[in-house]
């Protein structure tokens, strides 16, 4: 099929549909079609992870997928984390631990960490390093990011404990 194609993608619970060229990258759909600018483009060569989002619950680099391939899927971006302007536990831990300076890598770091914690609620330092290995930060030196993820895991497990 040549020419434009209709794609339907649900982003953060909202449905977006548009006629797009097959070569449109998912990150451009998110930023330009859905106008959600939280997802960043850093390297554009599948290396830095600034464009990381969750596609049907799995972390991927949205600069390395075509939007037509995401037709019918559900995506979460960094904008899905806070509710009514209130930071979620992970975001709050980043803030508390100075896990960002310029903030460029932060959306990707948050989404990679969200994926890690969704599979492994109590990661070791080594597992956190492994979980964010696809995300480059040029400011923090990673230590504070690792502390933040570890702390978020503790707070989350305390909260689930409370609920029980």
């Amino acid at each position: 099929m040549s020419g434009k194609q209709l794609v339907n993608i649900e982003i953060n619970g909202k449905k977006y549909s548009a006629e797009v060229e097959p070569r449109l990258l998912l990150v451009d759909f998110i930023r330009d079609t859905a106008k959600l600018k939280g997802t960043h483009i850093g390297c554009d060569t599948t290396s830095c992870g600034a464009c990381t989002i969750l596609l049907d619950g799995k972390s991927i680099k949205s600069c390395t997928m075509f939007a037509v391939e995401a037709d019918g899927s559900k995506i979460s971006t960094v904008e899905s984390l806070a509710t009514d302007g209130k930071l979620n536990i992970l975001q709050n831990a980043f803030w508390e631990h100075h896990a960002l300076q310029c903030g460029y890598c932060t959306p990707g770091m948050l989404m990679s960490s969200t994926f890690l914690l969704s599979r492994n609620p109590d990661p070791t330092e080594e597992e956190i390093r492994e979980g964010i290995a696809g995300n480059i930060c040029r400011c923090t030196g990673y230590i504070n990011i690792i502390k933040a993820v570890k702390d978020a895991a503790l707070v989350m497990s305390a909260e689930t404990g409370k609920e029980k």
Binding site: S2, R23, T46, G49, S59, I60, K61, V68, A133
Partner: protein
């Protein structure tokens, strides 16, 4: 950079896919896109037609066990392979190799079919599958055929796949009793690998019964150290034998020289990895 425009096809059956590839000379299959899309963005490669494998009903990702044979669908992701308990027990070298590919995001998208079809000597799974003597099932307009992995890699980016053929499945024999190991050296997880090895050695009372040694980024294709494998047969893995095997395995190699490592350095790394790997199998 953005890729050049292309026409996009999304077949839902292997039959339909074969017909598209047969009638469209330039059509290129797209699996996880983790090798293809970066090349298209850099415009190193600009196919005018892309055919997605994602919606083909027979190609939904799977890992299954039939007696001693493990079957892995071509669309199984690196992450699925790495996390499969069945594979970790039966063919640990494959599970380890998949876990050492790039990073979590790339492992969530990249597939075993794409890793192998790419025909690149720096792909982890090609070494692991060589060490495991895998079989590759491919399908095209003429039907299905099986290609032994030893006959698959012909030259840099050149494989035994005919135009219009797609890889549908990999088969490996469960070998929980052999010693297996995958080891890689790279500057970081996402950096291009400097060297890696995949080892699969059967020992009986300390003596080598069979050995397969596969080397990554050691030449234009993924390759086996055939002479070293033969040398090891019926020998006890002591330090002298191990040193000699590493020397035989690397003496005639001509690995590429690039910004990541020089030819000479790659040879030393390969030799060291073989020695470390074999030593870990004893004592």
């Amino acid at each position: 950079m953005r890729p050049r425009p292309f026409d996009f096809y999304q077949p839902t059956s292997i039959k339909e896919a074969s017909e598209i590839l047969h009638s469209h000379e330039d059509a290129k299959p797209l699996a996880g896109g983790q090798s293809l899309i970066p090349m298209m963005k850099l415009r190193i490669f600009s196919p005018s037609e892309i055919m997605s494998l994602a919606k083909i009903k027979e190609m939904k990702p799977y890992i299954s066990e039939t007696g001693q044979i493990l079957k892995i669908g071509a669309m199984a992701t690196h992450d699925m392979i790495h996390r499969s308990d069945v594979l970790r027990n039966a063919v640990p070298v494959l599970s380890e190799a998949a876990g050492e590919i790039a990073d979590q995001q790339i492992r969530n998208r990249g597939t075993i079919g794409g890793n192998i079809a790419h025909g690149d000597p720096s792909t982890n799974l090609s070494a692991a599958l060589l060490a495991l003597d895998a079989e590759i099932e491919v399908q095209g307009i003429e039907g299905t055929r099986i290609i032994p992995i030893d006959e698959f890699f012909l030259d840099l980016f050149t494989t035994a796949l005919d135009h219009g053929e797609i890889i549908t499945e990999f088969r490996v024999k469960a070998s929980p009793h052999t010693k297996q190991k995958f080891m890689k050296v790279a500057k970081s997880d996402t950096a291009f690998p400097m060297a890696f090895v995949a080892l699969n050695v059967g020992l009986s009372e300390g003596f080598v019964e069979n050995a397969r040694i596969a080397l990554g980024v050691a030449g234009p294709t993924p390759l086996r150290a055939l002479e070293a494998e033969k040398f090891l047969l019926k020998k006890r893995l002591d330090s002298e034998v191990i040193t000699k095997a590493a020397q035989i395995a690397t003496k005639d190699l001509e690995p590429p020289s690039d910004v990541h490592a020089s030819e000479e350095y790659r040879k030393q790394l390969l030799s060291t990895l073989i020695k470390r790997g074999l030593s870990s199998f004893v004592g």
